[in-house]
Symmetry: C2
Subunit: 420 residues, 2 copies
Amino acid sequence: MTSSSIQNRRQFLKTAALSGVIAGSYSLPVIAGIDKFELTDSLPDSMKTPGQDFTNYGQPSLHEQRVIRWISANPAAPGNGVSWTPLHDLQGTITPNGLHYERHHNGVPEIDPQTHTLLIDGLVEHPLSFNIANLLRYPMKSRTCFIECGGNSNSGWRSNPIQSQAGYAHGLVSNAEWTGIPLKLLLNEAGIKPSAKWAIAEGADGASLNVSIPIEKLLDDALLALYQNGERLRPENGYPIRLVLPGWEGILNVKWLRQLRLSEHPAMTRDETSQYTDLLPDGKARQFSFINDAKSLITSPSLGMQLPDNPGIYQISGLAWSGRGKISRVEISADGGETWVDAELEGPILDKAFTRFHLAWQWQGQYAILQSRATDETGYVQPTRDVLLANRGKHGFFHYNAIVSWEITEEGDINHVYGF
Amino acid sequence: MTSSSIQNRRQFLKTAALSGVIAGSYSLPVIAGIDKFELTDSLPDSMKTPGQDFTNYGQPSLHEQRVIRWISANPAAPGNGVSWTPLHDLQGTITPNGLHYERHHNGVPEIDPQTHTLLIDGLVEHPLSFNIANLLRYPMKSRTCFIECGGNSNSGWRSNPIQSQAGYAHGLVSNAEWTGIPLKLLLNEAGIKPSAKWAIAEGADGASLNVSIPIEKLLDDALLALYQNGERLRPENGYPIRLVLPGWEGILNVKWLRQLRLSEHPAMTRDETSQYTDLLPDGKARQFSFINDAKSLITSPSLGMQLPDNPGIYQISGLAWSGRGKISRVEISADGGETWVDAELEGPILDKAFTRFHLAWQWQGQYAILQSRATDETGYVQPTRDVLLANRGKHGFFHYNAIVSWEITEEGDINHVYGF
């Protein structure tokens, strides 16, 4: 942050109550319609020639090639890292399959659906093995839900706010319609022994990724997903089968699933001990936190965009989600949290899924700090960064869900700052 | 149809009441779980090596390359034709963007979003011209809806039932989350003169496609769509802007929109006179029919699939949709329409959008004819083919929405037949 913007922030603190003017959500931009035009005797070139041919599988426009998953991988360990969903370039709530975030521990395995099998064993009456053709005959159910990596937004733990675009700091979360078999059907067919309290889920990737999951969640809303937004799963999202646990952190949604072994105790695997566990200020560790807490993010305006030098009405738009249920409220502040106004939530508001919010904002060229704050149907309210750090310490790495603050300078530049 | 299957159909008529046994929708397949397995000391190859690297924009699995839009284009007029959504290979309700059906009259134009403009003129107080950057500043709204070509399913008018897979006879319909500007905002900004009753919408393609649309629909739920399933529109679906008229036939959802000219009367353009108009038995023409009537289709089991030679429980699954509102009911018959059972509808049931239905079916190796029949919230019931032909004649080409019948032979083969 430059000293000039610090000056602005000091001044801003004194005038905050005045600077958070927010208009109704369907106000129109002042400048958008241009009241002049030419009746084009000259037709555009696109009307003078036949267009391109049909395609068997369509691709985005060449003019949108900047809209990509941004890859942050470990050069020393190929296939270990993430790619981020460009939330700042998207609208609505569905993440198209080509842009669903990736988190791999050892790359995307090549799996032949003809030979892949899923084994359900351990504390069951009848160990069962399924191939994909058999699974496709089971009753299926669809549900739209987000999946969020436990490490999403973890740059928030740094001392200084990272200057990345919204999706490239918070885009390890995506939202899709998943279709598959309610897992309880298969578990009940196998027969769960009374001593079974956990299942150890393992993927068929080079990392042999495995994690422990309480049996209650598997019997609740867990899906054995075969389809993603209508088509079969993408390789990077678990083709041919993925465990989907709505609202539970990404790593538990095991991709390339090959085994569910029921057990009395969790396995204390690498990925649930050294990773995805939070060391707290008192030296204890927070483990098996599972649920993605409520969170929200203004995707527009956001860092990397620029407000034109003319004041006017801008549409604030963003996403909110909670692993505990439906989003019940999103509030917006333009003065760094002094005053708040309810945003409009777009329906249908679905359980454990992205909810898009909107609010029109009258920007008059003033310094501002835009924030969004989500509340879910359980009453959980997204915390400020100060509160999150007070509870979880300064040395966290996972499960960061604090309010995100975008600084708007008088010049219309947008920076990431930490809230007060 | 072979004489053997005719014999079967005659016998079937006598035993119809017995052959339509339908079980509860969450019954399990009898054969799907195999109660034997090997504890694989030998891990699959995919676990022995690092996997593939991250990708900026993902693609379907190489094992799913058969899942394509099937192209039926006019060899004498490149870019004139359709490509079909493979509904028989999909699940859930969202059509992924790569598989959204195409209908072009003269190919897919290449349009530069930097120079494209939308003109609103004619009977308005203030003619307005917008570029894409300006449009992106307007308030946006998302809605999931289907778009269906007026020519979808038109092989149903042939004397003999076409033997094509479900999507390749009925897949000129797709369902997506569209995000854009409620058109009424722009029309109201332009100021609608009292004499304006219609708008002539024109696309910037080589066909100069233009159609007349009643102003009431544009002021109701019309969207000026910029996004499709979260990302910017695909070129073949109108990039950079498309008119979306939920529930109204595809051609009215003008792609590559460049002009809306408000007028007192419809323009009687080529595409609303020689095309998309139905000649009725009495010699009169049914024109400006606009709304896609309620329709349904069993996508599984369907032609191109085969029931294995062992009887058992099969999950009937399919799609229903109506341009008049929500689907309120889908019934299934396994006996060619003698008896009907309600299917389970999957929620959320959205207005003018795909609704997925399910029903478990106990197939005991008998001859059967599977049908689905949709009812929408206005009470409209999908007609039999006989009723449709009685009302609309035998020489139709557009707006076919009759019940589809799949014949299941005793061998488990599946054929398309016309219902009784």
